[in-house]
């Protein structure tokens, strides 16, 4: 006694979608035409209708676009209300049936969402009559709204199609086997749902990538701006040029760059050595003070690092390693306490089996030989990870570098130097150079990172998490 699933809901949904598409394209077409020819009967009609709808609000009849826009908004209202209502109905239906499968809530939720978006459109359409807008803005509005409607249409069509497919499968199964197909609870067919979720995910990923990269794209664009060095409200430069980059060479920027580069190199080497010593010992040797030492360093790490800044500055000052000589001073500060960052490397060393050490001991190696001949060749990923992180650190260190260089330009690193260009007195003349400087700093570091990305990932996932 199995009812045949009717095709009507699916067909209705597809129909609505197609009609919507048609309406949108039609209106867009109309807009294009009215802009070409100034006066047609349809335009007059649209004007009158538009005036009636948005009458309470003063609107300039010369703005044909405004009228059509309001029409579009009205349509959206109707569609939106329908979607909201049906969405709520579907949700209640699913809740009432205590649906376990999450997928059955999706159609209702989707409809609700679309309805809400459309309601926004309606609100905007109303407000348009009140607020002033420019010609360019109007077209952007138009396209945005049209786009939203098209997406909804596509969704409706898609859902309709999948329902169609499912109903067809259901009916066919009933006809042939006398029984409904096994997969009754899924609201969409397997392939179709994968496809849609795949599309959804990919869209999301694209949007995410755009969002993540926007600031950097903006920086690069702004670094090419030559018409003014002030921070402005638009992105694309009106005049393009390399002026900012050449200007960098005339300032102290090369000195800062050199400082940071030297610091990064020296720190990369020395810090790696110290961290590896520390983590190897803590991983491999069991001596009495081992656990107390680790707890002690844990507690030390709970103090804010900045606390030590003041006294280190005084001590370095007495040693003559501040201000203009900030570079050696900073190097000393960085590497001296770097032993505390043993955590990730230790986690990695813990994964190397101790029986290798024992076998080497039996073969006659001293502990030092074990380290250099057996363990280190196996620890290549973590060594590279440590070198990479140690190298990248001085490029971004801000607080310590600033405090120790104490306003002396010759001792600053790139972070402090570039930041000084953003101070109130310098920002209007140096903003674009800041962007250029940022690009110059970011590019080599990024390229290095991308090349060694594999090791970084291994280090983070292997060592950072095991511990």
């Amino acid at each position: 006694m199995n009812k045949k699933k009717s095709y009507s809901p699916a067909l209705v949904s597809i129909l609505i979608g197609v009609v919507l598409c048609g309406l949108v394209f039609g209106l867009l077409f109309l807009v294009r035409n009215t802009l070409k020819a100034n006066d047609t009967g349809i335009v007059q009609m649209a004007q009158t209708i538009g005036r009636k709808i948005v009458d309470p609000y003063p609107i300039n009849p010369d703005h044909i676009g405004a009228v059509l826009l309001s029409l579009l908004g009205a349509i959206m209202l109707v569609v939106g209300a329908a979607l909201i209502i049906s969405g709520i109905a579907k949700l209640f239906e699913a809740i009432a049936e205590n649906e376990r499968n999450m997928m059955s809530y999706v159609p209702g939720a989707l409809m609700l969402l679309c309805g809400a978006v459309i309601a926004y459109g309606f609100a905007k359409a109303l407000l348009l009559g009140v607020t002033r807008f420019s010609t360019e803005g109007m077209y952007v509005h138009l396209f945005i709204d049209a786009g939203i409607l098209l997406i909804i249409a596509a969704l409706l069509i898609g859902m309709g199609c999948s329902r169609l497919v499912r109903a067809q499968k259901y009916n066919r199964s009933v006809k042939i086997y006398g029984m409904p197909p096994a997969d009754v609870n899924r609201s969409m067919g397997l392939k179709a749902s994968n496809l849609i979720s795949g599309i959804g995910i990919h869209t999301l990923l694209v949007i995410m990538s755009v969002v993540w990269l926007i600031p950097f794209v903006c920086i690069i664009l702004q670094s090419f701006r030559v018409e003014t060095a002030m921070p402005v409200g638009y992105v694309l430069p009106k005049t393009w040029g390399f002026g900012n980059y050449t200007g960098l060479l005339k300032t102290d920027f090369p000195k800062w760059y050199l400082n940071t580069f030297i610091m990064a190199l020296v720190v990369a080497v020395l810090q790696t050595i110290i961290v590896l010593c520390m983590s190897y010992v803590l991983s491999r040797f069991r001596f009495k003070m081992r656990k107390p030492l680790m707890s002690f360093m844990l507690i030390l790490g709970m103090f804010p690092g900045m606390l030590t800044m003041i006294i280190l500055y005084r001590v370095l000052k007495d040693l003559g390693l501040t201000q203009a000589n900030a570079v050696p001073g900073l190097i000393l500060v960085y590497i001296a306490s770097s032993g505390m960052g043993y955590y990730v490397s230790k986690g990695f060393f813990d994964t190397i089996p101790k029986s290798l050490d024992e076998a080497a001991c039996m073969d006659g190696a001293t502990k030092a030989q074990v380290l250099f001949r057996i363990i280190l060749p196996l620890a290549k990923p973590i060594v590279i990870y440590t070198i990479l992180t140690a190298f990248m650190a001085p490029w971004g260190d801000f607080v310590f570098a600033r405090y120790i260089s104490m306003n002396t330009s010759a001792g600053m690193n790139v972070a402090v130097g570039l930041n000084s260009w953003l101070s109130l007195d310098q920002i209007n003349s140096h903003y674009t150079m800041f962007c250029a400087g940022g690009v110059v700093v970011a590019i080599p570091v990024t390229i290095l990172f991308l090349c060694l990305q594999r090791y970084y990932v291994e280090g983070v996932t292997g060592g950072a998490v095991k511990g």
Partner: protein, 378 residues
């Protein structure tokens, strides 16, 4: 001369946990000694103490007459094969084997000769330039042995080397280790949890439990004269059948046991030994191996009536799992070669049978101390 002598060796962790109690053993030169026992019995710990990988809490270990307690592993002149082979992953097979020789700063041509010799003996000359990850389990096993071989050490230690291999490979490698032993001619100390390996490989077996030595003896000795209940049950597969029963003299003055209501006389030399011991009547733990139990046709004196539960077909023999009237389970091994086909078909679940055994296969254990009463304490 490469003898190993352990005197009163103890291993205590954290001042509380005693892993090895008072271990005393003398291993003669060129002897193959196997430490065997269940997990956690302390056999690996003892081996590692001999190797120098664990500190000795108390007692002394002498290798070749020299006390080695404070010597580093590399100074003790011993070689070890680890359970998971511990091959250096980033080196080729050749480099793995040559590693210890290079540390001794031997000239390269000497190293070459030694390594290729060992490779030939072990049959791995084709793999010398491969890295460990490109080898199978058995091949890695051989490389590990090769690495230990080239050191020409006095004592060869092996820590459960076959436990990572599948059953067929294990049998094969067992034979190869016996061959290797003949070629190498040094002292071997071998640790395993598998009693079959212990019995086939060892000149002498040391059975351990919870850090104590249960018995030291040749395979024959531990099989035929187990000193205590643990050894009796550990050695031999399937396990020896253990029955709690009573020992008493019967009317003829001979000893007999009374399991499950039946009376079975102790025949043979065991009777004489019991008489010599003047064993008292009373409770006794009786042990009889499955292969020593026979089926008889009829009931009567000296038999036990049982019911068949499960019949396992092993190929050349049947393992019959039977149970007595009070539910005790006994295993009987019956060779199939002389078995009447009719009789074999009748051996189905529920069939009533009678079993019997002679006196010379009985083992008697004191119920309280679990010691074999016929074995003298020394």
């Amino acid at each position: 001369m490469a003898s190993v002598k352990l005197t009163n060796v103890k291993k205590i962790y954290d001042k509380k946990v005693v892993a090895v109690h008072d271990f005393n053993l003398e291993i003669k030169d060129k002897e193959f000694v196997v430490f065997v026992g269940p997990s956690g019995c302390g056999k690996s710990t003892t081996l590692r103490m001999i190797a120098g990988l664990e500190d000795i809490s108390e007692g002394t270990i002498e290798i070749d007459g020299e006390v080695v307690n404070d010597l580093q592993p590399k100074d003790r002149n011993i070689a070890m094969v680890f359970q998971n082979y511990a091959l250096y992953p980033h080196m080729t097979v050749y480099d793995n084997i040559a590693f210890s020789l290079r540390l001794q700063k031997l000239p390269e041509d000497v190293i070459y000769n030694k390594v290729t010799n060992a490779a030939e003996i072990l049959g791995i000359t084709d793999y010398l330039m491969r890295k460990p990850r490109a080898l199978s389990g058995g091949q890695r096993q051989r490389v590990a042995i090769g690495r230990a071989m080239v050191r020409d050490s006095k004592v060869f230690l092996m820590d459960e080397p076959l436990s990572n291999l599948d059953a067929k490979l294990r049998n094969q490698m067992r034979a190869e280790i016996i061959l290797l032993r003949q070629k190498l001619d040094t002292t071997f100390v071998y640790v395993t949890h598998d009693q079959t390996e212990a019995m086939t490989l060892g000149d002498r077996i040391v059975i351990m439990k919870d850090g104590y030595i249960m018995q030291v003896g040749t395979p024959t000795q531990v099989f035929e004269m187990p000193e205590n209940l643990f050894v009796a049950e550990f050695i031999g597969a399937p396990k020896m059948n253990i029955m709690r029963t009573n020992l008493r003299r019967n009317m003829n003055g001979n000893y007999c046991v009374t399991p499950f209501g039946s009376e079975i006389e102790v025949t043979g030399f065991k009777n004489e030994e019991l008489k010599a011991l003047n064993a008292r009547d009373g409770e006794i733990i009786l042990g009889v191996r499955p292969e020593h139990i026979t089926l008889t046709e009829n009931g009567g004196p000296n038999t036990i009536p049982v019911t068949l539960e499960v019949n396992e077909m092993m190929g050349s023999e049947l393992h019959l799992h039977v149970y007595t009237e009070d539910g005790t389970r006994i295993i009987v091994r019956v060779p199939t070669v002389d078995l009447d086909p009719e009789k074999r078909c009748s051996l189905v679940s529920g069939k009533k049978l009678n079993i019997t055994f002679t006196g010379k296969v009985m083992h008697f254990f004191d119920p309280k101390t679990e010691r074999n009463i016929l074995v003298k304490e020394d």
